[in-house]
Amino acid sequence: MTRPRLATLAIIVVALGVIAFALSGALLNLMIFMMIIALAAQGWNILGGYAGLSSFGHAAFFGAGAYAMAVLQTRFGVNAWVALVIGIALGALVGAFIGFLSFRSGLKGSYFALITLAFAEVARIVANSTNFTGGAAGILLKLQNGLPYLQFADRRYFLLIALGFVAIGLVVSWWLEHSRFGAYLVALRENEQAAQALGVDVFAVKMKAIAISGALTAAAGCLYAQNYLFIDANVAFGSWISIEALFAAIVGGSGTVLGPLIGAIVLLGLGELTKGLSHGIPGMDLMVFGVILVLSVAFSPNGLVMLMKSLGLRAPAKEREA
């Protein structure tokens, strides 16, 4: 397994922070988007990567965060930071709700993937037809710059905050790889019965995993709402985010610390490139995502992180031969 040290993670985060300050305009926006997707993917990775429970409906958590952020601020005048905390907690709660129902019935594999998708769709339809959530018109957030409002005239500061959350995601994943809880997750992914035989309460472990997963992805939703200042049901609960979170984690390396971050950067980078090269033909970037997903499942089931590692291991061997 690739197990980066904390110091390596710190260097990566600082490097990204330095890059952030050199960026402006479209590139800055792209990088903010990359961090939001990376965070959503980190959430997906806790459940789908470490615990082996592939969700097709992480939009449910993303949307919970995004709507909490938007509704609390516009309807109840709640402070942005407080709304952020509530949004994250709501993500954990939605996770616990879906998890309680699904895991009690013992759903896993394709059944779990399908039921998460259904939950996200129900949320999307409800949000789309309820006045409380702004209905089909969505919710527009008020533009107010300043730290208390979690909006910044200089968007680099927002990028730093998004990066901060990604750093938290990295630390959570790092902790998983060095803790009992993480070992239990991998154990139940590999063999649930054997894990039970060793005294692992698989239901409780799965519940914790889906709550943490939901919280992280909800945080991404909160940041999304705050960054774009507009959400509707198709954006917040749409299948696009379920898919991008899953793609980034799997392409980068599911069940690894750095996988979701690397996957998000590579995927969205390639997506932008395709958009540029295809002169605005719709769907080309997503098509490339699909091709990359199929290729990575076919040829590198452990993702880019492992691919890089195995290439890295092979290279010195060649040097020795020479």
């Binding site: 397994m1 070992a183 991998v186 590999e190 063999n191 019965q193 035989a197 060793l198 005294g199």
Partner: protein, 247 residues
């Protein structure tokens, strides 16, 4: 220490285990033998909590544990190995064992230290960093035992730990089982290899077609005509069926 009373399990009309009872004395090695398909593994699964019986009870240390979930039984000191070994593929040998050790310590360093020690005890000391999928069959069987031992069991259920091993590997594992018992762990084992049963077990139960047909000291049980019938009769019935199919 373990008391199984009239345990029954039906699978859609078919009775897999029929009113089977057995008791395991503290500090003993007790064997459970029987022809293929006798229901031994089903019985084991009910003792470990992976299957709910349709009738009967399981008690452990004088307490009824029939309704408890497997992980709760593990916490009370019942560990099991699986007939078909299934290591956690994503983890190396030491980490595999540590999953068991985590039952008594939340600390990763401590669990890994205990895992290394147990690995040494079962003869996997040199393979700590190996991917579990790279182990030989014998190695995986040892890993299975090591993982169970790491939970510090008081009762260990071994499901055919010797199956698939060659004679020299079997000779290596026999002392390991005895050593585990000598360290205070009570053992109930399913085994096909009679040499091992004769060698290890203080008492043997024979299960045939879901029913307990004999019990006692190993040598006596092997001479029991009912037991011989159960093994040979099974083969004879199969031969007869084959002949009829040809006719």
């Amino acid at each position: 220490m373990l008391e199984v009373k009239a345990l029954t399990k039906r699978f859609s009309g078919l009775v897999a285990v029929d009113q089977a009872s057995l008791s395991v004395a503290k500090g003993s090695i007790t064997g459970l033998i029987g022809p293929n398909g006798a229901g031994k593994t089903t019985l084991f699964a009910m003792v470990a909590g992976f299957l709910q019986p349709d009738g009967g009870s399981v008690s452990y240390d004088g307490r009824d544990i029939t309704a408890l979930a497997p992980h709760v039984r593990a916490r009370q000191g019942i560990a099991r190995t699986f007939q078909i070994v299934q290591p956690f593929e994503g983890l190396n040998v030491q980490e595999n064992i540590a999953v068991g050790a985590y039952l008594h310590t939340p600390d990763a360093g401590e669990a890994m230290r205990q895992a290394a020690e147990i690995a040494r005890r079962v003869g996997l000391g040199a393979d700590l960093a190996k991917a579990s999928s790279d182990l030989t069959v014998a190695g995986r069987k040892r890993l299975e035992v090591a993982r169970a031992l790491a939970t510090r069991p008081r009762l260990l259920l071994l499901d055919e730990v010797l199956a698939g091993l060659n004679p020299s590997e079997i000779r290596d594992v026999l002392p390991l089982v005895r050593e585990i018992r000598d360290q205070g762990v009570t053992i109930l084992m399913i085994e096909h290899i009679m040499q091992a049963v004769m060698n290890l077990c203080d008492k043997v139960y024979v299960l045939s077609q879901g029913r307990m047909i004999a019990e006692g000291e190993p040598r006596a049980v092997c001479e029991d005509p009912q037991v011989i019938e159960a093994y040979l009769g099974h083969g004879a019935a199969e031969r007869l069926r084959a002949e009829q199919a040809h006719a």
